[in-house]
Symmetry: C2
Subunit: 245 residues, 2 copies
């Protein structure tokens, strides 16, 4: 089972898939593996919507920023944080629903991510490739319409699954010294280590795109954090019942 | 590699560990596997604090609700969402930091969860057991003090790791029909399926505790969602720079 660690280390997103379908019993296995992930307070606050309808796929691909593999992947699923399923039982037991605190949002979102990552690893172990689609949050209200999501449920991300028709390189990650700290948070040495890493990332892009942008990690993330990223999310989430009390 | 799916399905939390240490090269492997997880917008918004100091462990065990295995596990790490590391580079490139939107909180939190789950699976594949410790959010301000976390960083959860000294049962999960929906969100049949599942959960508790509380899933989650769970989180997160704009 040492190879599980090698499998994990070999992850890269796949954005081009063959037309091969995923067998029904394998898909069920992926779901079972997903559901076995840890869940905070036993909430099981995740719902998966499996989208087969080509028109829905097309609309999602478009709103996610023209990500065509949403249409072409063998499977496309949307992971939703779901407080409604459990919340229904507050009524049942004569209790007032109070599940609109920041903590509830956090717990349900983490539940979803743990479950999704289990599904991803199960899929990759079976030779499938995956790509997370955060782009569904570009227009989450439209996702709510398309998938008929009630209050208490929000779409966290999509996931494309299929047999890979490409073999991209693994993208280099930050040095361990930068990411893992001993006892306390401490930035000593990080700047120098990140400078070396920035060069690695530039090289990765130069090689991959054949003389492309060659942008460093630090510049990418500075660009990202200096932009107003999906500023509609707060209002959207409040409308779905996630009120950040 | 079919056994990866069996490994995933066999997950259960471990709360009693032997005194055996985790070898340094295995620990590094776990970290490498963790870092290989997908990261939104290449942000890599996670930092792991590895806590060895017994006094710190003791304080964390206490604030997490007297979870003694935080003290006794071979390793205890805290997963933090980290927008500071990347945010530092806004200054560097002369850009204004705007990373305090709800979306940034979401992205960093999901990054942490995906990375943690990779670490968990790597660990379990090597015969280790784990237990997530959401209880560190009982007193996140004290966690900030203990780990000297700066603004832009918050502790999402802890993780105990070690060689298992117990062999608990796998806890039953909701039926697939309840968790996986076709095309749209649809609750048809859920109530009946959950009633059957509730009985399974009652039985699980009765067996495990030798005639214990025997509480159903629906009653547990109704209790959970009718309580004000960690109502300090919003204010705490705002103080750490996560402003939910």
């Amino acid at each position: 089972m040492g190879s599980v660690i090698e499998l994990l280390k070999s992850h890269r997103s796949i954005r081009k898939f063959t037309t091969q379908e995923i067998a029904a019993d394998l898909f069920q296995d992926l779901i079972d593996a997903a559901q076995a992930a840890a869940t905070s307070s036993f909430l099981q606050g995740s719902t998966i919507i499996r989208v087969k309808n080509p028109e829905t796929r097309q609309q999602i691909a478009a709103l996610a920023g023209n990500q065509s593999y949403v249409e072409t992947a063998a499977e496309f699923v949307v992971f939703c944080a779901d407080l409604k399923r459990a919340g229904n039982y507050c009524d049942e037991y004569g209790k007032a629903f109070e599940g609109d605190y920041t903590e509830h949002f956090l717990i349900a979102t983490v539940d979803v991510a743990l479950m999704a990552q289990n599904l991803v690893i199960a899929a990759e172990s079976a030779g499938l490739g995956i790509c997370y689609i955060g782009g569904i949050r570009n227009d989450p209200a439209q996702m709510v319409n398309l998938l008929q999501l009630p209050k208490g449920v929000y779409p966290v991300f999509g996931l494309c699954l299929g047999y890979p028709d490409q073999d991209p390189e693994v993208k280099p990650r930050l040095p361990t010294s930068v990411v893992v700290k001993q006892e306390i948070y401490n930035e000593e040495g990080d700047k120098a280590a990140i400078a070396v890493y920035d060069e690695q990332v530039r090289e990765y892009y130069r090689t991959r795109t054949g003389g492309g942008h060659g942008i460093s990690w630090s510049e990418q993330v500075a660009n990202f954090l200096s932009g107003k990223v999906r500023p509609h999310m707060k209002e959207f989430l409040a409308a779905q019942g996630f009120k950040f009390k």
